[in-house]
């Protein structure tokens, strides 16, 4: 993995412009940047339930939400990358749920954004560290031992649970869990340096 060259602040500024002025040119630049990344993020899932068409559909869903939700984007709380990531994750959960929905189970009004809700009262004191945290985590990821970053990639990019990873790699569940914990510990140590 490489350390990102551009500071994500540029993308954050574009997002703010979309949110404030419905700036289409800014949105187009965001689209040209993020759409291929969203697809790339899910590329490893192509062989499974997540085919290429689903990835294209996901791109559309995510970018529509980016457009709609841009007014709520707060650059002091999250970088554009992380903000788009959370929207993308929620969209994907939504899509997979729609596909798997059983006809016989009662529907519920609780939706993805209720459960993966990041609007809960956050503490202003933490804000200062935020943009630094982004950078530290990106660098930290690049310096993890491969067996640890591999497990993180499987969890995030392939969407696999720990037990699925353990089955796939033929490793005991405890080993997968401890690799994840070790990776997080290293990233955490960078954040608190």
């Amino acid at each position: 993995m490489e350390i990102p060259q551009t500071r994500d602040d540029d993308w954050s500024q574009l997002l703010v412009r979309v949110g404030k002025n419905e700036d289409r040119a800014a949105f187009e630049r965001l689209f040209r940047h993020f759409a291929p990344l969203i697809k790339g993020f899910h590329y490893s899932r192509n062989t499974q339930a997540f085919c290429a068409e689903a990835a294209d559909e996901l791109v559309q869903e995510v970018m529509i939400r980016v457009w709609r939700k841009a007014p709520t984007f707060d650059p002091s709380r999250a970088s554009a990358n992380t903000w788009v990531y959370t929207i993308m994750r929620n969209c994907r959960i939504d899509m997979l749920r729609r596909n798997n929905r059983r006809q016989d189970s009662d529907s519920s009004d609780v939706d993805v954004d209720d459960i993966w809700d990041d609007t809960a009262d956050t503490q202003p004191l933490l804000f200062l560290q935020r943009s630094r945290g982004e950078q530290e985590i990106a660098e930290g990821l690049a310096s993890l031992p491969p067996e640890q970053s591999h497990v993180l990639e499987k969890a995030y990019m392939e969407g696999k649970s720990h037990s699925e990873i353990s089955a796939e790699l033929g490793l005991p569940l405890g080993t997968v869990k401890s690799r994840v914990r070790l990776a997080l510990k290293k990233l955490q140590a960078r954040l608190s340096k």
């Binding site: 040209r32 969203i38 995030y156």
Partner: protein, 229 residues
Amino acid sequence: MIRHHPDNNMLLEYAAGSLPWALSLAVSAHLQLCPQCRQQRENLDRIGGALLCDSAPQSVDTAAFDQLMGRIEHEDQQEASSGEAAPAKPRPVYSSDPVLADLPKVIRKLVTSTGPLKWRRVSSALRTSRLNTGQDRYEVAFQRICRGGKVAEHDHRGREVTVVLYGSFSDSEGVYRRGDFLLREPGDVHRPIATQDQECLCLSVVEAPVKVTGLLGWLINPFLSFRPA
């Protein structure tokens, strides 16, 4: 002070979106009460952000952007012509019950969506009410223990997550208060007792019993029923 949290593995599955719906609901209820885990969640989301930023780009059809803008315009027009009928806000159905007065947002919505709660008496100490989450892999319910109530010793066949939402209870291992998040694996035996001063309300998420049919079922089910109670 919250002392029991979901572990980092579960928080990561939540942040990556692979944790089952009902367990994510329980984690979400905890997060709304626990600033410490909220901060951890932010870090886990940032890992997702960093991985997204680092992904190898895959080409997207050149027409995709125009297609998207077309969709957005279409939606805008539809919204404008439908006259913005604001959906009726569902009424809270439980406001008179102090135990349910101060629930985390996500649980409040779950209760409203479930409709009037039907409390079923399990024992003199314990009442339970099922909550409708639109999935059936896990059973999601409120469990309500009366003041000083002792729940009979029991174990679980599947994983069980409990989040304390009101009051507190204890078992042989400790005292659990509002916000505490407990994970029990199959076979863990416990005997919760509510404190004397007030009732206790918990959200409980239990893996639904596995229904096995056919020859395999004949082989497996006897073992299930012989688990020590």
